[in-house]
Structures are given as structure tokens and as C-alpha cells.
Subunit: 221 residues, 2 copies
């Protein structure tokens, strides 16, 4: 079983959800192993041996060494299993799609992950209200940037780029689920994002891999 | 002059420096336009028209619309101008290189940018000591993760991957310059990173584009 795929994942991790979506879009079965970030399982030595950052996801193919970083994993999956493609063919189009993906994944998301929330609580002593202000601020910054970029592009269609799912949607939907479902932000303020979100969630690859359907999911934050 | 390249850049921006390195590696001349992040020029309406996030860099080719997000810009440059390649050929090797790049660019860097430092100072009222603690904490997290990943990989060589520069070096060096020169962290604690840094800085593409040689550079933070 050299090709067996394993993903270390957590229900509310945006980065894990991105990889689950990509694998589902490619029709690749994967065994999920839960690393409970709220219980601190990412800090255990045996997980650090898999991902020295102590973050999820980590992706393992057969007996190969783990791969880390969600976007690196997704581009790997896309290069190895090209159909359906997650990037358009045109070079500038690819840059536009990667740019949208990175606004969600590189600018908004890194500011709201558990290790940052823990620092705000423990090192800075922020109460829950101040922590939620922080989270909402950066999520809204991301929402505004994505909505503006999508509104300016002539190539925005049923999805972020045209009428087929790309890497941009793979990153947009986890961002919006975090913003809308976990932090109650009103996504109707971002009508293009909201519409694309709806179209994505009609697809099993997005709907069946979503956070609330994962092992250990809870209704709270 | 349809092919004229313009980069909106700031001397101490890691993301701008990454793109300057990539352009220099490819031998592509570029006109730099300074957006002074410390003076708030990124918030001006005419710059928001170029990059709705109000971040640097933004990259313009001739009369084409701007491209944003440093990694998206660099992969675009690499796809359009394939020599010398910034990614290895093997798919797993590409994922390893992208993973290293993203540890620096997606995990460490987003936590220390001016907009975050401003939030810490203005919204949270942190004094300079507490802000520096924050910055050093996330830079050191990045250093540790990168050193561990490089020490575990059998492919680490003169550079992050083998003996030719890749995207991983293009992201590592700006991270280390921020950590070592701007925040006085002791890079000798990370001997593999430090050694690769030295090899990169022997190359004009890294040395001549470095922050302190850019317009408006100052000795302070």
C-alpha cells in the first residue's frame, strides 16, 4: 500500500480543510488522523517528528517523508494528479488565482490560528472580547480584500476564476467558513464572496469535507 | 515599452525583497517605486487602486493589471522566465521547497508586518518591549522550524535544496535579514540557516537587492 494517503487534520483548521477539499476534488481517498489543536496534541513529540512546526496539516504518501504547508501540499497534489486542474493555464491567470488564494491563506489566516490566540490570551492577557476583536478585524480585512479583488477582475464567474473551481476557491471557502460560522461575521456584506461560497458548497468536495462534519467537531469556537 | 516591469516596494518589506531577489536571479530589470509603509503610503487611495490590500509588493508588467502577493508574483516570474529555475523538477522536491518557503512567508512573516505592529501598539496599547517580544517570538518560531526542516532533509546542500538557489532561499534570506539585522536575533543558534544565508549573500541577486541598500533605508527598525 505504498500509495496510501494520510492527512493529519483538525476539524476547525482552515489549512487542513483546504487539503481535504483538494483531495476530494481529485477523487483521492485519504485516511484522516486527528490532531486536536485545542488539546495541544500538536506539541507532542511524536507529532513534532512529523511536522516540526507543530501545525496541521501534514500529508503522508505511503512510506515517504511527510509534506507540510497546505499550499505546498495542494500544488503537489495538483501537479501529480492534474485533473481537474486547480490552476488555469494562462500564466497571468495562474498568478491571479494564486494571489487570491494567498490573500486568504497568507494574510488573513496566519493571524487567527490557535498558537496566536494562545499568545494573545496567555502572554498578553487579553480577555475573550479583545481576542474576538482581533480575530474579527483580520478576518474582515481578508473579506474586504477578497471582495474588492473579485469585483475588479473581469474573470470572476461562478467561482473565483471563471466557471471551474480553482485553488482560489479552495482557500476562499475555509476562510469564509471561519468568518461566518465560527465568528458570526455577516457574509452578506461581501456578496461576490458569498455567492461563490454558495456555489462551492453545492459540491460534495467542499460540503462533505467541511469542519462541522469532521471528527471531534463542536458547535463552539 | 509593453514589457516594462514595475515593482511597488519598500526597503524593509520581506515580501518586496523576495520579489527583488527573484527578478535579479532572472536578470530582469525593474523600476522600483517606493511605498513607505512607515509613513502610511500604502493606505493612499491611488495605491489601494493598485493593491486593494494596501500591502507591498505589487508588480506591473507594461499596461497589464497589477499582480499582488509575493509568492504568486515569484511563481509567475519563474513560469514566464524559466531559467534559472526557482523550483526543482521532482514533484516531491518542489513540495519540499515550497514548504520551506511557506514556513518563512506564511507562518512567520504575516505576524510581524507593519499592520500587525500597528494593531499591537494602537488597539492593544502594547509598549515597545512587549511588541519586540512578540516579533522575536514569531521570528524565533520560524527560525527553529526552518533549522529543523533543513537539518532533517537529506537534500539540504549549499542552499536550502541542493547546490542551486530555489524559492526556499528567496524566502529564507529576507526572513533571516529581518531576524538578524532588524531584530538582533543571534542567527548562530541556527547554523544551517546561517550557513545558507552566507552563501546566498555572496550572490549579487541577494546582496544588491537587500533592504539596507534600498531607497529610504534607515539603520533603525
Amino acid at each position: 500500500m505504498d500509495d496510501k494517503l494520510t492527512l493529519y487534520s483538525f476539524w476547525r483548521s482552515q489549512a487542513s480543510y483546504r487539503v481535504r477539499i483538494a483531495l476530494a476534488l481529485k477523487g483521492l481517498p485519504v485516511e484522516l488522523r486527528t490532531i486536536d489543536l485545542l488539546k495541544g496534541e500538536q506539541h507532542q513529540e511524536d507529532y513534532r517528528a512529523i511536522n516540526p512546526e507543530g501545525l496541521v496539516p501534514a500529508f503522508i504518501e505511503g512510506s515517504e517523508p511527510p509534506l507540510v504547508q497546505s499550499l505546498a501540499i495542494i500544488e503537489y497534489i495538483d501537479e501529480k494528479h492534474p485533473e481537474p486542474p486547480l490552476l488555469p493555464r494562462g500564466l497571468r491567470d495562474r498568478a491571479h488565482v494564486r494571489g487570491l488564494a494567498q490573500v486568504a491563506a497568507m494574510d488573513a489566516h496566519p493571524l487567527i490560528v490557535p498558537r496566536v490566540r494562545n499568545y494573545l490570551a496567555k502572554q498578553l492577557g487579553l480577555d475573550e472580547a479583545a481576542r474576538n476583536e482581533w480575530l474579527k478585524h483580520w478576518l474582515e480585512e481578508g473579506n474586504r480584500a477578497l471582495e474588492t479583488m473579485l469585483s475588479r477582475s473581469g474573470r470572476t464567474g461562478r467561482f473565483c476564476f471563471g466557471d471551474a473551481v480553482t485553488l482560489a476557491d479552495v482557500c476562499l471557502v475555509p476562510h469564509l467558513i471561519t468568518a461566518g460560522m465560527l465568528y458570526d461575521l455577516d457574509l452578506r456584506l461581501y456578496p461576490i464572496c458569498d455567492r461563490i461560497f454558495g456555489h462551492c458548497m453545492e459540491l460534495d468536495a467542499f460540503a462533505k469535507t467541511q469542519p462541522k462534519l469532521q471528527p471531534g467537531a463542536s458547535a463552539g469556537h
